[in-house]
C-alpha cells in the first residue's frame, strides 16, 4: 500500500491501472476531511479520533497533507509526530503527503491516495489539511463529511472562518475547550449556524473537545457516524458521490482535451501570442477564436486520435 501511494505521487499510470482493475471495490470507505486554522490542534484531534474509531473496530487510513515550499518543492512533513501511538496500530495506515505545487490545495495524488486506501478496504479515510487557502475548499470535493476545527481565543478569526469554511462544515469542533473563551466561540458558531441553516436538513453540530485529554472525542465519533447515516438514508451520499464522479470525469476529460490540444497545436504556443496580446496587437478573444478554429481544422483532418 505504501508503495502504491508513492506511485500515486510519482507514476500515475500504474495507479490508474490498479484503480481500473479494482473499480468494484471502490466506494466503501467513509471519507472524512479535517481542516481548520494552524494551531487548532488538528493533528492531535485527528490522532484521537482515529484511536476512537479503531477502538470501535474500524480500520482506517490517515492522510496528513502539508504544504510544500513554493521555492524548492521540498517539504517538512511534521504532523506525524503528534500521533505516535495510533500509527503503530495494525488497523491503521498513516501517510504524510506534501501538496506538491498545487497551490496549497489537495493534489491529484491525494485523491488517488484516497481511492487506493478505499480499494485496500479501509473503513475510514481521514484527510487532515491545514486550513489556509485552497485546501479547505478542495476537501469538499474529496470528502463525504468535513470536520472544521476551531479554537477559542482566535478572536476575529471566527469572522474569517465564516467566509470560507462555514459552507463546507458538516461538523464543527471547538478544540482546546478547556481554554478561556471556549463558550464564546461555541456561542458564536451556533449563532452563525442559526443565521445560515444548512439546506440539506442536517443540523450541523458544534462539539467541544480537549484533544490533549481525549475529551469529547467519543461524541465527535458518534456525530460523525450519525452524519454518515444521515447522508446514506437521505440519499445525499449517493448524490454527493455522483456529483463527485461527474466532476472527476469532467476534470479528467478537460485535462485530456488540453493535452490533445497542445499535442496537435505544438508546444510553446502561448508565450508569443500572450506577448502580442499584451502589446495590444491582438485581442484576447480574437486570439482564442483563431486558435480554436485552427484546432478544429486539425482535429478533423487527423480524425482526432485522442489516445496515443
Amino acid at each position: 500500500m505504501a508503495r502504491a501511494i508513492s506511485a500515486a505521487e510519482n507514476d500515475p499510470p500504474v495507479v490508474q491501472a490498479f484503480l481500473r482493475e479494482h473499480s468494484q471495490r471502490l466506494g466503501r470507505a467513509r471519507i472524512v476531511g479535517i481542516t481548520g486554522p494552524p494551531g487548532a490542534g488538528k493533528s492531535t484531534l485527528t490522532g484521537c479520533l482515529a484511536a476512537e474509531l479503531v477502538n470501535r473496530g474500524f480500520s482506517l487510513g490517515l492522510l496528513l497533507v502539508d504544504p510544500s515550499s513554493p521555492f524548492t518543492g521540498g517539504a517538512i512533513l511534521g504532523d506525524r509526530l503528534r500521533l505516535p501511538d495510533i500509527a503503530q496500530h495494525p488497523q491503521v495506515f498513516v501517510r504524510s503527503m506534501s501538496s506538491r505545487g498545487s497551490m496549497g490545495g489537495l493534489s491529484k495524488a491525494t485523491s488517488d491516495a484516497v481511492k487506493l486506501l478505499d480499494a485496500f478496504g479501509m473503513d475510514f479515510v481521514l484527510i487532515e489539511t491545514v486550513g489556509t487557502g485552497q485546501a479547505e475548499t478542495d476537501i469538499v470535493s474529496v470528502a463525504d463529511s468535513v470536520i472544521v476545527v476551531a479554537v477559542p481565543g482566535l478572536g476575529d478569526d471566527i469572522q474569517a472562518l465564516k467566509a470560507g469554511i462555514l459552507e463546507i462544515a458538516d461538523l464543527f469542533v471547538v478544540n482546546k475547550a478547556d481554554r478561556e473563551g471556549a463558550e464564546k466561540t461555541e456561542r458564536e458558531l451556533l449563532h452563525m449556524l442559526k443565521m445560515q441553516p444548512s439546506s440539506s436538513g442536517w443540523t450541523i453540530p458544534v462539539i467541544r473537545t480537549v484533544a490533549t485529554k481525549n475529551e469529547g472525542i467519543g461524541e465527535l465519533a458518534n456525530k460523525l457516524l450519525a452524519h454518515y447515516e444521515f447522508l446514506r438514508e437521505s440519499g445525499l451520499l449517493l448524490r454527493q458521490r455522483v456529483a463527485r464522479a461527474e466532476q472527476e470525469l469532467k476534470d479528467l476529460l478537460r485535462s485530456r482535451m488540453m493535452q490533445e490540444f497542445e499535442r496537435l497545436m505544438g508546444p510553446a504556443l502561448y508565450r508569443d501570442l500572450a506577448q502580442e496580446i499584451v502589446a495590444g496587437e491582438q485581442s484576447l478573444y480574437d486570439t482564442a477564436d483563431k486558435l480554436w478554429q485552427q484546432f478544429l481544422v486539425r482535429i478533423t483532418q487527423k480524425g482526432g486520435s485522442a489516445s496515443d
Partner: protein, 559 residues
Amino acid sequence: MSPKDDLPQIRDARVNWEEGTLQKVLSRFPERKPEFKTPSGTEVKRVYTPEDVAELDYNRDLGFPGLYPFTRGVQPTMYRGRFWTMRQYAGFATAEESNERYKYLLAQGQTGLSVAFDLPTQIGYDSDHSLAAGEVGKVGVAIDSLADMEILFDGIPLDKVSTSMTINAPAAVLLAMYMGVAEKQGVPFHKLNGTIQNDILKEYVARGTYIFPPAPSMRLITNIFEFCSQHVPEWNTISISGYHIREAGSTAAQEIAFTLSNGIAYVQAAVDAGLNVDDFAPRLSFFFNSHLDFFEEIAKFRAARRLWARIMKERFGAKKDKSLMLRFHTQTGGSTLTAQQPDNNIVRVALQALAAVLGGTQSLHTNSRDEALALPTEESVRIALRTQQIIAYESGVADTIDPLAGSYYVESLTNSLEKQAEEYIAKIDELGGAVKAIENGYMQREIQDAAYEYQRAIEKQERIVVGVNRFQIDEEPPKGLLQVDPAVGELQKKKLAVLRQSRDNIAVATVLDELEQVAKGNDNLMPVILKAVKSYATLGEICDRMRRVFGEYVAQDLL
C-alpha cells in the same frame, strides 16, 4: 557618563576623524568584511565613543555592586570576598562510580557538586523500563530509588557541600530522595544547600526531558516553591535556564528574553497559587550559557541582571533585595566545542569562562575538551577545572568588581541586548505569556530559525570555526575516550529486582495510592512524594502514578 556638554565636541572630532584619517586608510585598505556583527546579529561598530552611551545614567542604570538594579553584580564585594563556586557537572554509570568521581573532584579543590542524571532518570523511567534500553548510565548517573541516592552521596556530608541537580520533570522526586539521604545522615533540612534545575518550560522549548503537560508541571513547581520556603529555606528551588535555549541555537538576546519570560511565568504561577512573592523569589536562580562572542556575553549577563531586577520590582512588586537579584550559574557553550582538534577547545573554554567571570557569575562549569566526542575523562575534567583556577588565582580579573563597566562598547551592548530582550518579552506577553508562546511553538520556531541561520553562515564561510571550516588538519582519531560499560544497564536492573523483593511492598502500594489521590486534588504533593521515596518506591513508580493523573506532554513544535 561623560558630561553631556562634551558630546558636540566629541561628535565633531569623530566626524573629522571619519572624513580624514579614517577615509584615507579605508580608500586604500578596505576592512576584512563589509559589515561586522555579533553571532546574535547585532551590528558591531568600528569604534565606540561617549556618544553611544549618551543616555546612560550611572546611578539609575549601573549603580553599585549589591544595589539595585544590580548591573554591576549581586554582592557588594563579589570575588574579593569569595570566588565563584567552581562546579563541574558530573555523573555517569552507576551511583558507585559517580560517587568516586565526586570525591575526586572535591579532593581537587572543587567547591560544589553538580549531578548529571541519565535520561531514563530525567524522564521518570526506571532502568528496567523498555524505553530505557541502551540509555542507562549514559549521560549521567542512573537513580531508581532512595537506595541509589544513598550510595551516590555516601561519605559526602550534605551539610558541608552544596549540590546542584540537573533534574526537571521529576525534580520533586529527586529532591525528596536528597532529603531522604540527609535524614539518614542526621542533617536537618534547613542546613541543606543546593539547587534543582526544575525548569520545565525550557524542556518543552529546547531540552526535551519533559513528562507531564504544562499545567500539572507548573503545579509541581509551585508546590516545591511553597514546600521549600517552609522546610528547606536555603535550597534554590529552580534554576531558570537559558543554557539549553542557547545550545539549541538561539541568539544572546533570545537567551535572555526566553529565560526571563519563563521566569515571569513561574513567578506568576506561584503568585496565582497564593504565595507571597518575597517568600519564594529569593530562592530563584538562573543558569546561562557563556558562548563565543566575548563582549556580547559579558554584556548579556549584565543586561539580564538589570532587566530581571526591574521586572521583579515593577511587575511583581517584590520588596526584598534578594527577590530582585538575578543570581546565576554559567556553563561554557557545549555546542561551540569541536570534535576536530579537540585540544583547541581548552582555549575556547578559557575565553568563555573569562567572559562568565567578567559578567559576574555565581558559579561556573567549564566544559572539557573532549565533550564533542564522548563523556569527559578525568584528565579532561581536571584541565577544565584548572582553567577556572588559573582565572581565579593568577589572572587578577577577580580583584576588582565588574571591571568592564564604563567601556563604551560593553555599556552600549548591554543597553542594546536589554532592549532586544524587552521587545521579545513584550511579544511573548502579547501571545499570552511563556506557556502559550511555547504551546504554539513561537519560541521553538524563533530558535530553529536562528540555529539554521548559524549553520548556513558556517557553511558559507561567513563564520569561521577554527579546525572545522578553516585550518583543518588530518587527524588521528582521538584515544582514551571515556566509555560507559554497557553492562551498567543489566547491573542496575538487577539492583532494582532485589529492591522490589526486599522492601515492604504493601507499604509502597499504599503510599502510591495516596500519592495518586493527592495528585487528583489540589494539595501540595511534596509531603506525599517524600513519604513514597522513603518507602523505597522507585522513581518510575512514582512518576507513573502522576502520569496516570496528569497525562503526558506531546511536543507541538513545527519546523
